[in-house]
Symmetry: none
Subunit: 353 residues, 2 copies
């Protein structure tokens, strides 16, 4: 039920049945305000998506919508999948990483890590991030954080995050063209390409890696690169639960290691995504992961909505949405705890009744 | 599957998947010997109910019946529900609080906390409790007890405990009339009212709060008020698993805080009861909880025996028994661990075959 992208099955099998903390990293980039660049959310309220996603995963309720009648239409958020797994076999705990949100989630009793980070700018005019400081915040968090469980599932909700990830990978010199995913089945390549082209024009030949990241990246990518490096000598493993955005986190780490001539203990990390990302014809996560100088065990959860007749869920099997809110990693966690495709499908369907 | 009575869902959601210690507080009051006041047990052997309940929850066996052939008839004890949850997804541990039992449970290897407390008297002639000393025992227990798990579920088994709770709330000046539950579907108001009236006549105008409690209350109510206040600065949460009796524990705390001009950290406690109590037409737990001067998160487990055809269980859906032995809190724990209504129903039915 969990299949390899790169490496062998052993790392993820060694986590079978173990307890995980779900860390959900949340951020807004103004890039998402560009018309037509993402469908991750409610038109006109895309900036609320990470806030609403985290509220739903933690409480089952969507709280920060100004008008409650205005519920999401179209493709349902992958948060449904993460929540379904949590209901069927709960994570040890869910904690939120506020990496620059427009609206703080309306949640009590769940740990919300606040790093005093602002939403980042739109990359077509420069993201305007102090990338070194942000990276250091990630490193420090990794050095001090103790999950009190066997491993960490690190998910994200960052609308238009695949656009910033694509710009980042290209800016760092990776052959990333046509390899990044999108929340659309038909990747809106023109708009995306225009934005990325504008972003890359911000870069000066003398910019160092953090100057580059500060212009074309987003908070989630930079912070998590630091987090993973900071936690690399800890005794727990981190599952990067995401698609090409999490692949980009690894590419950033790769570039930083090249610059600093450092090394990473690859046994402490893995990437897990969805089948929808793995099979996507318009992107190529495997090619991205094979650009890393270090070995990596990466996987996809062999889950789709073949057992469902719900039209909104069928959109996933047609390539919409694909991944986000740690969906692939959460599915893998569920499988490792003995949950079946039937159980998960049924639980997701309950949310849509 | 868990719904709000007061407050928001966050506190209980933050405990999803976490491990709990089930603390079962057990006590006898001679009030239960008044004919027709309770159906919580075997006629003529009502005093054995807390002993048998704890034996069954811990071991699956009922041991302290003088004649084993004489098994319970009529409405089965809610201990079946607590035991079913424990079998499906066990508590970290079960520990007993002996708050004055006629017969000590015949159980080895489970921790039985003994506080050298005698059964209390019948409130129609004065319960004759040294309430301040008992309260202090509770406070000391709260200050020293370490559950070694994420949270505590505090249940109770005290036959005729709703009568002592009603008398207590009225004696403390709360508008509690018609708001207290009963083990009967048709609340035996006449007998109960007579007993409560007699109890209230014991009180002198100059009695302080502990003198009042010593006359009209029961050991469970007084001890647990102390326990909860004593543990209030600990890093674990306590779920008061019960209906109107546990609401009365909170009313006692409220009155003590008024007297002492103290405060409670409401984030450390919550109350969880059954749907049968929440929907009971003859009582009003919500109204009782809204009399508190402090905020409280309270919930009910959305569970009934709609999936069962067993006539003894159907009595619950007709309003008999309703709650006890931590049933509501145990059901919530089960739901938070991913158990389904189907699983719990089936497991309870197995006991009755």
């Amino acid at each position: 039920m969990i299949k390899n992208i790169t490496g062998r099955i052993d790392l993820i099998e060694s986590l079978r049945g173990k307890k995980a903390t779900f860390l959900l990293s949340l951020s807004n980039t103004k890039t998402a305000t560009i018309e037509g660049i993402t469908q991750a959310g409610i038109p006109g309220m895309i900036h609320l998506t990470p806030t609403l996603d985290s509220e739903f995963v933690c409480t089952g309720e969507v709280r920060s919508l100004p008008n409650i009648a205005q519920t999401p239409k179209g493709v349902p958020t992958p948060a449904l999948i993460s929540r379904a797994v949590h209901l069927l076999d709960p994570f040890s705990r869910i904690e939120l990483l506020n990496l620059g949100l427009e609206v703080t989630p309306s949640i009590e009793y769940f740990k919300q890590h606040d790093f005093n980070i602002n939403p980042s700018g739109s990359i077509d005019v420069g993201a305007n991030i102090d990338a070194f400081e942000l990276f250091q915040k990630g490193v420090e968090f990794g050095q001090t954080y103790e999950p009190k469980s066997d491993y960490v599932i690190l998910g994200e909700s960052v609308p238009s995050g695949t656009t910033t990830a694509l710009a980042t990978a290209l800016a760092l010199g990776y052959d990333a063209k046509d390899k990044f995913s999108s929340s659309f089945a038909a990747n809106p390549s023109n708009i995306k390409q225009e934005v990325v082209t504008k972003a890359l024009k911000q870069i000066s030949p003398n910019d160092d890696i953090f100057e580059i990241l500060g212009k074309v990246s987003d908070n989630m990518l930079i912070f998590n690169a630091g987090f993973i490096l900071g936690a690399n000598n800890k005794d727990y493993r981190i599952i990067l639960a995401g698609g090409t955005q999490m692949a980009c986190v690894l590419l950033i780490i790769n570039s930083i290691l090249q610059t600093m001539q450092g090394a990473i203990d690859h046994s402490k990390i893995a990437l897990v995504t969805t089948k929808w990302v793995y099979e996507d014809k318009n992107s190529d996560i495997k090619a991205l992961l094979e650009m890393l100088d270090f070995e990596l065990n990466s996987y996809y959860a062999d889950f789709d909505f073949a057992l469902s007749n719900h039209p909104a869920l069928k959109l996933y099997d047609q390539g919409e949405a694909k991944e986000g809110v740690g969906a692939g990693g959460c599915l893998a966690y569920g499988f490792l705890k003995g949950l079946s495709k039937e159980q998960i499908t049924k639980k997701v369907e309950e949310f849509l009744q």
